[in-house]
């Protein structure tokens, strides 16, 4: 009872402070608010010509602030390493409860739908990744879509079957490709005589420069997507493998 009262009082305290701050903030959509007068004008007005992508958040994410994005990717990779250190990489899954070894009870209809759905989902992920360069979307989302497809695959056809299709060696490659691609693109700038993560190729000009920059930005984007797909796959395998060992 005292615990409940304490919880409610804590929530009321935090909530009233936050709601007070919210009521005092500039109105939503106010173009003169401080967050829209400092960095935003430069990005919005010159993003297309300086960074070369029609989607301005993409410009900020992959070009202006690529260093910070690299920090994000490295932090994601560090989280994956910590997860692996805690859980350990799952061995090849062994069969679980049901006669067919899948955690979900077997049904021909389920299998057929999953077999139809998984390749289409991965195709959709490729579409999101390719379209994301200049429209709405990122490889990050396509990576999570691939992760979702692999979760579906693991739930319907046991961990045994899925780890047979996606062996641990391939998982290791998938996890590290993202970070290595990011660092590789960054070092390419140094090799070509500019700075780390410059995303420009000195010595060539005009249209080929723009094309080269677009390719490098897409490579960074793809690296993030692969990193996301890798972490989701490995973590799901590890967690489900842990469940199998426990039982």
């Amino acid at each position: 009872m005292i615990r409940k009262v304490a919880v409610i009082m804590a929530l009321a305290l935090v909530g009233s402070a936050l709601l007070y701050a919210v009521a005092k903030m500039p109105a939503m959509g106010d173009a003169g608010a401080p967050d829209k007068t400092y960095a935003m004008p430069r990005y919005v007005e010159r993003g297309l010509e300086e960074a070369g992508n029609r989607s301005i958040p993409n410009d900020v994410f992959l070009n202006y602030r690529a260093f910070d994005t690299m920090g994000g990717v490295l932090a994601l990779f560090a989280a994956l390493c910590a997860t692996m250190a805690v859980l350990g990489r799952s061995r090849r899954g062994h069969s679980l409860a049901g006669p067919d070894g899948s955690p979900v009870s077997s049904s021909t209809m389920l299998w057929t739908v999953a077999r139809l759905l998984v390749p289409l989902t991965i195709l959709f992920a490729a579409y999101v990744s390719l379209m994301g360069v200049n429209t709405l979307g990122y490889s990050l989302q396509s990576g999570t879509i691939i992760g979702g497809a692999i979760i579906l695959l693991t739930l319907v056809f046991s961990l045994l079957e899925t780890t047979r299709r996606i062996p641990p060696g391939f998982q290791v490659a998938l996890e590290s490709t993202g970070v290595l691609l990011f660092l590789g693109v960054g070092l390419l700038g140094v090799v070509l005589g500019a700075h780390f993560l410059t995303l420009s190729i000195p010595g060539i000009a005009g249209r080929s420069q723009q094309a080269g920059r677009a390719v490098l930005m897409y490579a960074l984007d793809l690296g993030i997507g692969l990193c996301a797909a890798g972490i989701i796959t490995s973590v799901v395998f590890s967690l489900m493998g842990e469940g199998e060992v426990e039982q």
């Binding site: 929530l11 009521a23 993003g47 989607s55 994601l76 805690v86 990050l140 973590v235 842990e242």
Partner: protein, 135 residues
């Protein structure tokens, strides 16, 4: 302290984000099950993303993809969208790490319990993990 209703209505999206955050905070501090605490953390993260996206709005709406001959005034704030994107990326890592810590914690508890008394049947282990009943 005078809270004008005008201020709340103007910033209704922010207020909703605060309420969602309080729901997450409630789950974190009032629930005993570690899995539910993790869910609360995810809810809190989502409310911050919602808040940032709402803050990036310019006017009554906006675009983020520019077309030739665009007007800069019609675009949303790209900085907040970028921050949310990085946040989503990191929240996946945080969720994975905290869930793995929950799994480790539970398996240690079970191991120490099984050394004290005779090991019993473990059929309802997932249910206990979800509801946070001590073994």
């Amino acid at each position: 302290v005078k809270l004008s209703s005008n201020g709340f209505l103007r910033n209704l999206n922010y207020a909703v984000a605060v309420v969602i955050m309080l729901v997450g905070l409630y789950a974190v501090i009032a629930r005993r099950s570690p899995v539910k605490k993790v869910i609360g953390l995810i809810v809190m993260q989502s409310s911050v993303f919602l808040f940032f996206v709402a803050m990036g709005l310019v006017g009554s709406g906006g675009k983020r993809v520019v077309t030739p001959g665009f007007r800069a005034a019609t675009l949303i704030n790209p900085v907040s969208h970028t921050l949310v994107l990085v946040g989503i990326m990191l929240s996946a890592g945080i969720t994975a790490l905290s869930l793995s810590l929950v799994v480790m914690m539970k398996s240690r508890q079970r191991r120490s319990a099984s050394t004290e008394e005779a090991p019993s049947g473990d059929e309802d282990a997932p249910a206990r993990l979800l509801h946070g009943v001590d073994p």
